[in-house]
C-alpha cells in the first residue's frame, strides 16, 4: 500500500474558473491509497511548495500527485521539492488540468469530470511508480579531433588551451587542410599562410596536443564520456622518432609523383613533405611512386639518412585511445568537374578549377605565384564561372556559399597579377557576411566585368579571327537578354563543395546521420548546430555544410566548448528513465537490437539474451514496444504503469 498525497492547484482562476477544485479534492481524497488531498491557490509558489514538503513529512507520503499546469511547465520544480523533502523525484506525478483541461473548455461540469478522470489515472499510475536513481559514470578527460584542417586545428588549440589533452588525427602527412593551399583569404586578402602557419606550429608545440598525422580513424566504440577510438597509423616508412627533419632524403630521391598539395600542377618526390611549411616537417614515402617499392632497387634515402630513420619494412600500426568526446572536422572535397563536359575541364588545358588557381597564385606554388597557364602563357583575359555544380538539381542543389566571394578574390588577384580582362559569370552574387558586400563593391570599381548569367558552354569553336586561339564562353547575359560569346585565354571554374568521398563511412563509425548529400547532420539546425544525435560527438566546419573560414573557425571554437562541457566533468549523470532487460523473460529475438537508433541494446550471444547499455539509452521506449515477451522494462513508462494510467482514465 502506498501513501499518496494529491495537491490540486487553482492557478489563481486559470484552473478554478472552470474546474470545481473543492469537488475534485474531495473526489481525490476518497481514492484508494490517497492519504491526503489538498488545494492551494498557487501550488508552484513558495508557500505551495512548503505545503507539499510539509505534507510529505506530516503524512509520511511516498507518492505525490500535483494537479496543476502541464508537466512541461513545472515537473522539474515539483521534483526538486520532493527531493528536498526526502522523496525520490520520480515518485512525483503531474496532472495537467490547466493546458489540457481548464483552458480548453468553458463547461464547468465537463472540466471537473475530466480533472477527476485525469487524477484517477494518475493515482493508478502513481501506485506502480518506482524510485529511480540517477547514476554517474566516470568521464575520460581526453578529446579526439578528427581532421587537421583549420577546423580541427582551431578545436584542438582551444581544448588544449584549458589544459585538456587532445588527439588531433589527420589523414594526410601534414595538417593545414585546404586553407594551407590558399594564397589569400577573402574579403581582407590576408595571406593565408601568414595566419595559418603560426597555428599549425602552435599545434606542434602544444604539449597537450598529440598530433597523429598520416592516421585514420579505424573504429569507434563506446559512448559519451567513454569512447574507445582505434586509430590506424599508416606506414610512413620513415621512423619519425629518429628523423631529424634534415630532408636530405627528399633532395636525393629520384622518384616522382604528382603533388596532391599542388593539385597535380607540380611534381613531388616519392619521399616527401607536402609543402615547405608542412607540420610535421618529417617526410613519408609514397609506395606508389617510390623506385625501391616499384623496382626493388634504389634505397637512396636509406643511404643518405644519417639517423637511420628509413624503414622499408614498416607496416600500418594501431593506436588505441580513450576519449570523453569526439569532434569531427573532416572538411570537404571539391566536386570533380570533368563529367560536366560543357565546361571543357580536362579537355581544354586552359580551364582550371578553383583549387588549381589558388596554387597558381601562391608564391610557394608551382609557378612561384605567377599566373602562368599550362602552356606557359600569361592569360590576358579570364572568365570565372560561378555555380559549377552548385545550385544545380543535376549535381548539388545547395549553394556552396564560398564561391561568390573567392571568385571575387580571384578576380582581384588576376587583375593585380595579369592586368588582363576578368569576367565574372554569376547567377546571383551572394555577399552576405562581414565585409563581403564591401568587397564586392570594391571589385566593381576594379573594372571586373560582371555578367549575370550562368555560363552555358566553353568551346574552342571560333566564329571570327578575333576569337582564334581563344576559348569561347557562351552565355545568355540575362540583363540584356543577349547571347554573349566571350573569348578568353583562361577559364576558372568554381565547383561545388561536397562532402568527403568517404563521409558516409566516417558517419557510420561515429554513428552520425548524414543529409541526402552526405554532410553530417547536426542535432538541431538552429539550437544545436554543433551537436549530433550521438551524445559526445560534435561537428565543426565544412563536414556539416559548405562554409567559409570565419564560420568554420567560429564553429570549431564552439565545438571545442561543447567537447569541454563533457570532459571538464569527472563524472556524468545518466538518464535515469532508461530501459532494461529482464533477462529471464528475454527470448533473444533481437528486435530491440535491430530497432534502437542509439545501439543501446546488444546481444549477449553466450546467454542468448539482449542487454541494454544504459549509458546509451535515451528512454524512448522503442525497444519495449518491439519486445514480444515484455522483457524490456522502460523505467518510468513500464507496461504496467502506462496501462494502469489508461485504466484509471477510462473509468470516468
Amino acid at each position: 500500500m502506498s501513501r499518496i498525497g494529491v495537491f490540486v492547484c487553482h492557478c489563481g482562476l486559470n484552473i478554478a474558473k472552470t474546474v470545481r477544485v473543492s469537488e475534485v479534492v474531495e473526489f481525490a481524497a476518497n481514492l484508494p491509497e490517497v492519504v491526503i488531498a489538498e488545494e492551494y491557490r498557487f501550488v508552484c509558489s513558495t508557500p505551495g511548495q512548503e505545503l507539499i514538503a510539509g505534507d510529505i513529512k506530516k503524512y509520511n507520503l511516498d507518492r505525490i500527485i500535483v494537479a496543476a499546469c502541464s508537466p512541461l511547465m513545472h515537473e522539474k520544480t515539483f521534483r526538486k521539492v520532493a527531493e528536498a523533502a526526502g522523496l525520490n523525484q520520480y515518485l512525483v506525478t503531474i496532472v495537467n488540468i490547466r493546458e489540457q483541461c481548464s483552458w480548453v473548455t468553458e463547461d464547468e461540469d465537463v472540466a471537473t469530470k475530466k480533472a477527476k478522470a485525469l487524477i484517477n489515472g494518475a493515482v493508478y499510475r502513481a501506485r506502480l511508480l518506482a524510485p529511480l536513481v540517477s547514476r554517474f559514470i566516470d568521464v575520460n578527460p581526453e578529446v579526439v579531433v578528427v581532421g587537421g584542417g583549420i577546423a580541427g586545428i582551431q578545436t584542438a588549440l582551444e581544448i588544449a588551451a584549458v589544459g585538456r589533452k587532445v588527439y588531433l588525427v589527420e589523414r594526410t602527412p601534414t595538417i593545414g587542410g585546404h586553407m594551407a593551399q590558399f594564397d589569400k583569404t577573402f574579403p581582407t586578402l590576408d595571406c593565408s599562410a601568414c595566419i595559418l602557419t603560426p597555428k599549425m606550429d602552435a599545434v606542434l608545440q602544444n604539449p597537450n596536443i598529440e598530433l597523429l598525422t598520416y592516421c585514420e580513424v579505424a573504429e569507434v566504440k563506446g559512448f559519451v564520456g567513454n569512447f574507445d577510438v582505434k586509430i590506424r597509423q599508416k606506414a610512413r616508412y620513415v621512423d619519425h622518432a629518429k628523423c631529424n627533419a634534415c630532408l636530405a632524403c627528399v633532395e636525393k630521391c629520384p622518384g616522382k609523383g604528382e603533388s596532391e598539395f599542388d593539385e597535380g600542377l607540380a611534381k613531388r618526390k616519392a619521399i616527401y613533405i607536402p609543402f615547405p611549411q608542412a607540420v610535421p616537417q618529417k617526410p613519408v614515402i609514397d609506395r606508389e611512386t617510390c623506385t625501391y617499392f616499384i623496382k626493388g632497387k634504389c634505397r637512396l634515402c636509406e643511404k643518405i639518412c644519417e639517423q637511420k630513420a628509413i624503414d622499408y619494412e614498416q607496416a600500418d600500426s594501431y593506436i588505441e585511445i580513450k576519449a570523453g568526446a569526439i569532434v569531427a572536422a573532416t572538411g570537404y572535397d571539391l566536386m570533380d568537374v570533368k563529367p560536366l563536359a560543357q565546361y571543357g575541364y580536362g579537355r581544354y588545358p586552359a580551364v582550371y578549377h578553383a583549387l588549381e588557381i589558388e596554387r597558381l597564385f601562391n608564391s610557394a606554388g608551382p609557378t612561384a605565384g605567377k599566373v602562368v597557364m599550362r602552356d606557359g602563357r600569361e592569360p590576358q583575359s579570364i572568365a570565372i564561372l560561378h555555380c559549377i555544380g552548385s545550385r544545380d538539381k543535376n549535381n548539388y542543389e545547395y549553394c556552396s556559399r564560398v564561391c561568390c566571394m573567392y571568385s571575387l578574390k580571384f578576380a582581384h588577384l588576376l587583375k593585380e597579377k595579369t592586368h588582363g580582362d576578368v569576367y565574372q559569370l554569376y547567377i546571383d552574387m551572394r555577399a552576405g557576411g562581414k565585409g563581403y558586400e564591401e568587397f564586392y563593391s570594391r571589385l566593381l570599381e576594379e573594372d571586373v566585368k560582371f555578367i549575370r548569367g550562368k555560363a552555358a558552354t566553353v568551346t574552342h569553336r571560333t566564329k571570327n579571327p578575333e576569337e582564334e586561339g581563344k576559348l569561347i564562353v557562351e552565355v545568355d547575359d540575362t540583363l540584356t537578354g543577349k547571347f554573349a560569346r566571350i573569348p578568353v585565354d583562361m577559364v576558372v571554374l568554381a565547383p561545388a563543395m561536397k562532402p568527403r568521398a568517404d563521409a558516409k563511412d566516417m558517419a557510420r563509425m561515429l554513428n552520425l546521420s548524414t543529409d541526402k548529400y552526405g554532410f553530417f547532420m547536426e542535432k538541431h539546425p538552429k539550437l544545436a548546430p554543433l551537436s549530433t544525435m550521438t551524445d559526445g560527438v560534435f561537428i565543426a566546419g565544412a563536414c556539416q555544410s559548405p562554409k567559409d573560414i570565419p564560420d568554420t573557425v567560429s564553429q570549431a571554437t564552439g565545438a571545442a566548448a561543447e567537447a569541454l562541457t563533457i570532459v571538464s566533468k569527472a563524472k556524468m549523470e545518466l538518464e535515469a528513465a532508461t530501459a532494461m532487460v529482464n533477462a529471464a523473460a528475454c527470448s533473444g529475438c533481437r528486435n530491440c537490437v535491430t530497432v534502437c537508433p542509439y545501439s543501446a541494446p546488444s546481444m549477449n550471444e553466450e546467454k542468448g539474451v539482449s542487454e541494454i547499455n544504459e549509458a546509451l539509452c535515451k528512454g524512448c521506449g522503442l525497444c519495449a514496444a518491439a519486445c514480444p515477451t515484455s522483457a524490456i522494462i522502460t523505467r518510468h513508462f513500464t507496461n504496467e504503469q502506462v496501462m494502469a494510467e489508461m485504466e484509471g482514465l477510462m473509468e470516468f
Binding site: A585, S587, N591, A626, T629, S630
Partner: protein, 285 residues
C-alpha cells in the same frame, strides 16, 4: 512431379551421406508414426537412423519449429515451400545461421492434412510448392499455384464489420487456451511467451472471451510480416479455429503496405523492425 516415394529415397540417401561424412550432426525430417497417415517429426543422428526416414503426403509438419531450438549445431532440415520460408525468416531474425543449415528442399504439391483430409494449397495454407532457399533439391521443381493465396479471404472480407466481429468472437470464444497454436508455430519461439508474463498480465489466466481475444490479437500482431503461411497453428488447433485466415490477411497487408512477404529473401529485415522513409502516411488511413 517427383513421386513422394522417390523423394523419400533421396531424403534417406542424402541424410546418410551427410551423416556419414559428418557434415551435419543430425537431420531433421520425418519418421514413421503409428500408421502411414500419421508420420512424425524425426531426428536422424546416425546413418542407420536415416533408414527410418519417410516422406509422404501427410508429412505436413514444419520442421523449422524444431530447427530453431538448435541454433548452434550444424544440422540438415527437410523443408517444403513454407518450411523453407520459415527457415529464411528465422535466419533474418538471427535465430538460425545459414552456414549451420543444410536445407534439404522438397518441392511438394498435394500434401494432405490427415485430420481434415484437406489438401494444402493456396486455398488453405502452404501455397508455396517450391522451397525458396535450399542446398539440395530432392525433387523436380513444380509450377507455382496460379491463384493468389489471399483469394480465400474474400468471403470474410465481404462481410460487414459487425459480421466479421461476430465470426471472430465465436471463434475466440471457443479457444481453450491450450496453446497448441503457439507450440506448433515455428515463429513462436519466445520463451517465455508474453502470455506467461505476470508483469504485466496481458490477459486472465483462464480462458475467457476477453483474454482469448487479447491473446490471439497480440499473437497475430507478433506474427505480422513473419508468418510464412505453413498452417501448423490451424492444424494443431483442437477446436479448429481458422487462425490462418487472420495471419493471411496480415501477410496480405504487409505485402501491400511494405512490399515484402515473410521469409522470401535472406537479406530482408522483418517488416516491423524496419522502416522506409517513403512508407508514407496513407498506410495509416
Amino acid at each position: 512431379m517427383t513421386a513422394f516415394k522417390d523423394i523419400e529415397e533421396r531424403l534417406k540417401e542424402k541424410a546418410k551421406d551427410l551423416l556419414e561424412k559428418g557434415e551435419v550432426e543430425c537431420v531433421f525430417a520425418y519418421g514413421r508414426g503409428y500408421d502411414e497417415r500419421h508420420p512424425r517429426p524425426y531426428v536422424a543422428k546416425t546413418k542407420e537412423d536415416a533408414e527410418n526416414l519417410v516422406f509422404n503426403e501427410y508429412c505436413t509438419f514444419n520442421l523449422a519449429r524444431y530447427a530453431v531450438k538448435e541454433p548452434r549445431k550444424k544440422i540438415a532440415v527437410a523443408a517444403k515451400g513454407a518450411d523453407s520460408r520459415a527457415l529464411v525468416q528465422l535466419i533474418q531474425e538471427g535465430k538460425l545461421k545459414r552456414e549451420n543449415l543444410v536445407i534439404l528442399g522438397i518441392p511438394a504439391a498435394g500434401m494432405v492434412d490427415a485430420k481434415s483430409g484437406l489438401t494444402l494449397d493456396e486455398k488453405t495454407t502452404g501455397a508455396f510448392a517450391n522451397p525458396v532457399v535450399y542446398d539440395v533439391l530432392l525433387g523436380d521443381k513444380l509450377p507455382e499455384a496460379k491463384n493468389s493465396p489471399y483469394e480465400v479471404l474474400g468471403e470474410l472480407e465481404g462481410l460487414s464489420g459487425d459480421g466479421r466481429w461476430e465470426f471472430w468472437r465465436k471463434e475466440f470464444a471457443r479457444c481453450l487456451r491450450c496453446f497448441a497454436c503457439r507450440k506448433a508455430c515455428p515463429m513462436c519461439y519466445c520463451d517465455p511467451c508474453f502470455m506467461d508474463q505476470s508483469r504485466p498480465r496481458w490477459a486472465d489466466k483462464s480462458p475467457t472471451l476477453d483474454g482469448n481475444t487479447m491473446y490471439h490479437l497480440t499473437r497475430f500482431y507478433h506474427l505480422a510480416g513473419r508468418c510464412v503461411d505453413c498452417g501448423e497453428c490451424t492444424r494443431a488447433c483442437p477446436v479448429d479455429i481458422p487462425l490462418y485466415l487472420f495471419h493471411k490477411r496480415l501477410a496480405k497487408d504487409c505485402e501491400e503496405m511494405f512490399n515484402q512477404a515473410a521469409g522470401m529473401k535472406l537479406e530482408d529485415k522483418p517488416v516491423l523492425v524496419d522502416f522506409r522513409v517513403e512508407d508514407g502516411d496513407e498506410i495509416l488511413l
